[in-house]
Symmetry: D2
């Protein structure tokens, strides 16, 4: 039996780009992290060390900067499309390009000054091959927490159950959302998704993370006609109620120990059927 | 020559606390990290393994939760004072207690729902011994960036100089500020410090990080009478102008590569003289 | 058009376990991180908040500790199988269980004392459904670097090429390997994989990361008959040659600036054909 | 009352350097992180934005690479001295230079190939002013754990005590050590310190972290005549015994949950008296 190269891909990760666009005194700031991966006819580089078909990852990095200089920035989906198209159109040996972009969050507080607005990020993954293009828009690390309207009861009890049922717990999470839309209204859709996540999360009478995740996904599909499918991932970042009874104190759901690990991890894909 | 225990201290770090305070439907959320360090008559525990004077660090952790349950939260300076006072008043062997608190930043978007507002933190260090109490209030990791009004010229040139002078560069930093005030208006002072940092950073015609750091410190002392001394630390998180000339493109201060390392690190203490 | 729950799964992540096994004075230490994900008939929890089919993630965590107490630890693949089997056999609503384990690296330096041996980890992913069981054994974060025997030439040159060809560069990487074997000799196979990675990495006359990755994979399949398929991921952690010519110094491949970002990212799956 | 610049310093942090030294086929690899801080007559840069006395931090970075190219690497203490001397001798406006170096740990497994040996680091801080030079050698992040020979009993009990006394617990820590020596045998001293830490940690019948920290420091001063003073910092990285009694299982000190936070933090300075 022989040995074969069954699959391969390569590219450049963590290309950092800051672009400043000036319209008079009022500047726009874009701060991106770009990952590029190519698939195609690269077998000779693996098998014989023959690099004639290899576009160096250093050139991929340069291409990010060059294209950023040539065009108005636009939405990250548009920049991803521009990069994917570049690599496919110039490189016949490439069969597919995948461009993953994540945008850091800066909030303007002055014409030319910006405040880092947390670790929430806008994301886009553009996957393009010779036949099709798929764009997944997203929001990552939207860290939210609510102090009411969250229960967890009625679950399976087995020999290893120690968790107590509760009708009132803290619900903290870091939402990751990724969707496919049928139009190019990237910014409008993202804004609608984000607002819906925040509103439903806050108002939903949650019987569990699963219950809330579906309510959020359903509301997004209800409200944003262009979105055909959304995947939501929500860790359950537990806040443990501290037992103050050894100190003869009550703890009426007030004092908690937040823990980073372990954490629940719940996900769902919701789409039009 | 003998061997002596010249100095020692011990305590508990990274005690995580979330406190929820409910006023009807509108909840308040406090999310803290608490570090405790005690000094005192602990030599027997080091030299003979005699722990009779040792308050276990586990008990320090419990004390954080117990005191959090007993009192309204207040400002972090007040919680730090309560903890320092507790350890000193109950433990005659303790000569000094140092309580360092950092508060995570949550922004309300609903009566009982909150959005994590970035990695900026409020800080307080309460140091109390049998004679004096010192409170250092602070802000940490205020990440800001400006795209105009920053120059760096006229510096020393030696055989290892390659940096080019510039009248227009990006200036990005993560401000750490720590001050001593003569009153107890912790929240008011912190708000004034933060607003002054943002305003001066944006508006100052900077000739270097040093120049801006002093301008900020001076403006804070000008505006907040209660503050007698402030220490400011500002890394220079460089954004390198990308050389696009190999691609026959100009780069009129638009396309940058932000780097995390190396970075400049500038600090100053400014006080009333 | 209706809205449907297209896919879902949930579980517990980052369950930390330390197990000590004592054979007289000589102790064994196992330090694991366990992630559990279940698929199955959970739609009611998402759609109606009905948790009757939900095994709480807290119970999953307890199960890790309970099973760790009941059995000798064995290899991580065996512990993963034990957990997967537990969840499937006790929970008819579960259609598939995925258990991902990563083992921290401690080196014994005394009968009962251990030194943390770096961030290299052993990994295993056990995926079990009602029909099949798949075990992927692995090594993660094996950080290695060589200072000779690495070239990169003969690649595509386009308008965005600035990289210079080199016959002598530093090659640094953090190997991730994941394989499927047809026997249960987990420890023996892992040892052979690891030794082969180290040997081939050091000795191979590399014409590029792709070239080396294939040479390593091929050698592993050559030497370890039980392994039918291996996936290798190797970032290219660049060390940039520092230009000392402005200081009238030569730099004969001696002084480098290592950078964390951007980095190349190369992968391949190699199998018997 | 006027406003004054009470203190200031500035410099470059996280200058990353890899140096390769070739002696025929056998290569040596040095991988450093260098931080530089200067004090001196810099007031004009703060007060007036006059940079005539400012050596740019970019030049400091270049200097690290230039000096690395000019000299054999030697020990990190020697490289730190070379840098401190450079900045003081060429810059009359500088009153003091502080150079902090940390060296990553690579283990040779081939003439020109190296394996990253964990996150343990060698450190050196050289502080030099116009009158004196102080060198602090160190070891950082030596992560060790023992499964026997560690007790904690006889401590203070108060109203917030819940910790149970134990004669047999896990003791895990990450040792930070920093010492002053009266000779230049940097490598020999560091080796002796490291071996003593490992041996005493393993063999000492510990009644608490304080007890062990002193035993280690005392043994180091006993064995290494040149060391006049050592500071040791040891977090107590707790492994919590898991309560398996709800599952009718015993847990004879076998199954633990390691936690990262909170952790104890114990330190001591031990010197010849």
């Amino acid at each position: 039996m022989s040995i074969v190269l069954a699959a391969n891909q390569y590219g450049k990760s963590r290309v950092r780009l800051v672009k400043v666009e000036r319209n008079g005194a009022r500047h726009n700031l874009t701060d991106l992290n770009v990952d590029i991966q190519l698939r195609g006819d690269f077998a000779a580089s693996y098998l014989q060390g023959d690099n004639r078909n290899v576009l160096p990852t250093d050139t991929m990095k340069n291409t990010v900067y060059a294209l950023a200089g040539q065009h108005a920035m636009g939405q990250i989906e548009e920049f991803g499309l521009r990069l994917a198209d570049h690599f496919l159109s110039r490189n016949p040996q490439v069969s597919a390009a995948s461009i993953a972009i994540s945008q850091n969050n800066w909030q303007r507080f002055h014409d030319h000054a910006f405040l880092r607005g947390g670790e929430e990020r806008r994301t886009a993954v553009v996957h393009q091959d010779r036949a099709t293009t798929t764009i997944r828009s997203g929001i990552d690390n939207l860290v939210i927490l609510k102090t009411a309207g969250s229960a967890f009861t009625g679950y399976i009890r087995d020999q290893y159950t120690t968790l107590k049922e509760t009708r009132d717990r803290i619900f903290g999470t870091a939402v990751q959302a990724e969707w496919i839309a049928q139009d190019q209204s990237y910014a409008v859709n993202r804004k609608a998704v984000r607002e819906t996540i925040l509103q439903i999360f806050a108002e939903h009478a949650s019987e569990g993370v699963q219950h809330t995740i579906y309510a959020i996904g359903e509301a997004i599909l209800d409200r944003v006609e262009a979105i055909s499918e959304i995947r939501l991932v929500m860790p359950n970042r537990h806040c443990l109620l501290v037992d103050l009874s050894p100190f003869d104190q009550e703890n009426p759901n007030e004092v908690f120990q937040p823990i980073d690990e372990p954490h629940g991890l719940i996900e769902a894909t919701i789409r039009r059927g």
